[in-house]
Amino acid sequence: MLEVKGINVYYDAIHVIRDMSIEVQNGEIVTLIGANGAGKSTTLKTVSGLLRSRTGEITFMNERIDNMPPHKIQRKGLAHVPEGRRIFMQMTVKENLEMGAYSRPGEADEALDTVYARFPRLKERRKQIAGTLSGGEQQMLAMGRGLMSRPKLMMLDEPSMGLAPVLVEQIFEIITGLRDEGVTILLVEQNASMALQIANRAYVLETGVVAFSGPSGELSQSDEIRKAYLGG
């Protein structure tokens, strides 16, 4: 479904992604794990068009997307829920969700019902200004907003960041639920052990290169990875 081949991304002169290739198949949860600064978020930003790769190609559903602007990539069915959630703090919960369906205004009402059914909390708070929500609610809003466009592939960047353990569990359950309903997931996480539990496959990034990759089960058994990323 998504194929990233040989990309190189720079922040000015700093080479942050080196010859990276990753792949996501339809129906999978694929996770990118690795330390801070390994290039996980940069990879997602490059796929969604916010950053440009100098080389290589990115194909989504058999179409080259590496030269498209972000709003066109989103319209192909690729939703990116960015790091730090980036919800529109001064807009209401409902308006945030409506923005998620900006490219498909005709389907907004139906999509809104689906998102409210998944996140009843958002329905209760629909008239509230998004900036007044709690951290967990803001994460739900960010995910709900991503789902409003009915994406085929959803990229989630650190959905568990700053959340209490109970909420983290809940977020991970939601992610598995989405996969079961046919949304393919590319997940970036610092919480590597949780991510490996729900993912089908994983890529371990180290300073901009793929250090290891394989089925999550195998990776979580590997001594090297346990030591470096799973706390022993």
Binding site: S48, G49, L50, P69, P70, H71, Q74, R75, A79, H80, P82, G84, R86, I87, F88, M89, Q90, M91, E95, E98, M99, G100, Y102, S103, P105, R145, S149
Partner: protein, 293 residues
């Protein structure tokens, strides 16, 4: 009674400032740039309306609509050709370009229409209404200006609050990257913002020239600066702030002229701005938004 009549003049002049300030504040809110050519778009609106009436004998309403059309196209073209290529450039480069566009428009107007002042005739005629048993008179243009300002405020509130494009504008003004991830074309939203701002500039130009009937290529410059001041005064980026700032500025200017000094009225306006910014650095209704890292 004199006070009341000054107050009415102040509100009406302030309404023109408010309409201009809306253009500044919307463009700033979304494109994060100060469009110093905005004042000169007002002047172009004035000339179009002037020629529509004097040379082509069009009905004033048609003249106004023509001015709105020309200014809208002009505003979008300015953005497309002068500012869009600088989207990634330093904000100082954009600012200098805006000043350049301002001089370009003034000089183009001078070549096209000469620097001889044109005498503009009010689009609503020179009707005056006696009020309070004839103790004060209110001109029709003053009422029309205040009315236009109220209608524009209502329409803009509806537009930004209820329509899909208006909400996309608010989303872009908060976080452009996130807006793009929603499938919003930021370039298109910026074009629409310039279109709306410039259409408002045309309305302001026609109203301003109806109040102060001398039209020259630099007619837009001073009201442009004052309206920019009004936008900062109210809190740049805030639509209600631009309205409030504009009206207060108009009142302060007229009251300053009437009770303190005609020559000092502009200085008084800017002195008040300085005091407000010292006390409230983000303007009366401005919000401090922390930069996202």
């Amino acid at each position: 009674m004199a006070f009341l009549s000054h107050l009415i003049s102040g509100i009406s002049l302030g309404s023109v400032y408010a309409i201009i300030a809306l253009g500044y504040t919307m463009v700033y809110g979304i494109a994060k740039m100060l469009n110093f050519a905005h004042g000169d778009v007002i002047m172009v609106g004035g000339y179009v309306s002037f020629f529509a009436a004097s040379a082509w004998g069009l009905h004033p309403v048609l003249g106004l609509l023509l001015a709105i059309t020309v200014c809208t196209v002009l505003g979008v073209a300015i953005e497309r050709f002068a500012y869009k290529p600088l989207r990634q450039a330093a904000s100082l480069a954009v600012l200098i370009t805006a000043i350049g566009v301002s001089y370009f428009l003034q000089n183009a107007a001078q070549i096209l229409w000469s620097s001889n002042p044109k005498v503009f005739s009010s689009i609503v005629g020179n009707t005056n209404f006696p009020m309070l048993d004839g103790r004060i008179t209110v001109s029709l243009i003053a009422l029309a200006t205040v009315g236009a300002c109220i209608v524009i405020m209502i329409l803009l509130t509806w537009f930004t609050g209820k329509t899909r494009m208006g909400k996309a504008m608010r989303a872009c003004s908060e976080d452009k990257a996130a807006a793009q991830l929603m499938g919003i074309s930021v370039d298109f939203v910026i074009s629409v913002t310039f279109a709306v701002g410039s259409a408002l500039a045309a309305v302001a130009g026609v109203l301003l020239c109806s109040m102060y009937p001398t039209l020259t290529p630099t007619t837009g410059a001073m009201p442009g600066i004052k309206a920019f001041t009004a936008a900062v005064f109210g809190g740049i980026g805030s639509i209600p702030g631009a309205m409030l700032g504009g009206i207060l500025l108009g009142i302060i200017e007229i009251m300053g002229k009437a009770y303190i000094s005609t020559q000092l009225s502009d200085a008084i306006v800017f002195a008040v701005l300085i005091i407000v910014l010292l006390l409230k650095p983000f303007g009366l209704l401005g919000r401090h938004v922390t930069e996202k890292v």
